[in-house]
């Protein structure tokens, strides 16, 4: 927590968890998709479902998917904006067992046809946690540059990936490994202190057995 968590953020009301947090989750999901969203199926559970409308959570999540920031005065008009930008969306009740009081699952299709499924929790004070990507459990706050690498679940990937980051003087802040089951797809979530250069991401994508690399940049984000 820093000073601007106490005096701040500047945001569109009414709720840091139900409004600002929802914008952030939508925004992170869009950045994980890596392109404009063409179609979004949004599933609310818990308190997002029961009190979301009164908190503008529905408008907030759509605003986030459109790439709006938490203090953008267009948030209340995000539905109209989505229509203008030809982003289709549907908001429904989720079937997830309530693992967190403020949760949303998003199934997204991008303008080039790329698909991603992201689940996020709003954990309070506008802070969020991305807790699932494409069916694999994760846990990261999206507050620092983050690499999400899906690879075959075999030995040696950490040892191969780390030197690529070291070469670019990127310091790893946290690193988590997740997998659905042994020998299937594994997900590596690496939160870094510095931005990762494009060349580095290209090199990671070329590694044998690496299936998917998503990078969450903090550039242009306050």
């Amino acid at each position: 927590m820093n000073l601007f968590d106490i005096i701040g953020p500047v945001m569109i009301g009414p709720s840091s968890s139900h409004t600002a947090g929802a914008v952030k989750i939508g925004n992170v999901a869009r950045r994980l998709l890596g392109e404009d969203v063409k179609k979004a199926d949004i599933y609310f559970t818990g308190s997002f479902l029961s009190t979301g409308k009164g908190h503008g959570t529905d408008k907030a999540i759509v605003a986030g998917l459109l790439g709006l920031a938490v203090d953008d005065t267009d948030i209340p008009h995000s539905f109209e904006l989505a229509e203008k930008r030809r982003m289709k969306f549907e908001i429904k009740a989720g079937e997830d067992v309530e693992n967190h009081p403020n949760a949303v699952r998003m199934k997204l299709t991008g303008v080039t046809g790329r698909k991603i499924e992201v689940m996020g929790n709003s954990v309070g004070g506008g802070r969020i946690e991305i807790c699932e990507i494409d069916g694999v459990e994760t846990s990261f706050s999206a507050e620092s540059p983050t690499l999400i690498i899906q690879n075959e679940d075999k030995p040696g990937y950490v040892a191969e990936i780390a030197p690529i980051l070291v070469k670019e003087h990127v310091n790893i802040a946290t690193m988590q490994l997740h997998r659905k089951k042994r020998g299937a797809v594994a997900v590596m979530v690496i939160e870094c202190d510095q931005e990762i250069p494009e060349s580095c991401i290209k090199a990671l994508k070329k590694l044998n057995g690496v299936l998917e690399v998503a990078y969450l940049t903090m550039r242009g984000i306050e």
Partner: protein, 289 residues
Amino acid sequence: MYDSINQIIKEEKEKKTPFWKLVQLDDCHESETTVKESMTEVLKIYKAMKESVANYEDSLKSQSGLVGGNGAKIHKRVKSGQMICGEFMGSVIEKALKVSESNACMKRIVASPTAGSCGVVPAVLLSLQEKEGFSDDKMCEALYVAAGIGGVIASKASISGAQHGCQAEIGAASSMAAGAAVYLYGGNGSDIANAAALALKNLLGLACDPVAGLVEVPCVKRNVIGAVNAITSADLTLAGVKSRIPADEVFEAMNKIGRNMNADIKETAEGGLAATKTGNRIKESIKIK
């Protein structure tokens, strides 16, 4: 952030550096920013607070229809000189309502420390600037003071209604605003701590019981009491009235009370005002299909 007010007071004496400057330097060190960058950012925040008052719209209603228009009612009464508590306190009440109503109506505000309590700090600071003509730089220093107090409260207790009830939101905001107000009138670290302690003591145990789970009833009007309480705590302090319990211990007491509170009065909308006959009726009437 500092985790003890006593520590700040101690360093203020030892390093001969004012309270606000210590908070600023500490944050610059933590977030690897320069003093200049930090000051620019705080000024931005202060300007956003000013805008949150100026951009109030009389006719706006919240999505639920429960909130809106009260800031305009008070404004009228202040302008016609009818407020029992006088023009200055009237303008404090007016701003607290305007900012928190704007929040409920999806307008831009500064969470300070939270969105639910966003009216308290701006109501106090902006009214004092209007009254005394303090410079924006001075107001930014006061914001550092407020942030320093809020940081200690967050570390010793919480600034989340879901964790410790409304005492952690309106209570914390009031404590922050009281300390900042005293600073503007020349108070040192001990005075700031005294005002922060007095303000929070008055709001200990406050439940977070929002009707229908929305940041509307009773949140909007509680911003008024938070702001007014900050001003009275500052006046008491400046007159030399001492809090018998020091600030750090008040914050620790808030933590214990928060832990002992039932979950039904911690933002779950299951207890307190939310669970009254009328509260339940409102909840049913605005239910989403």
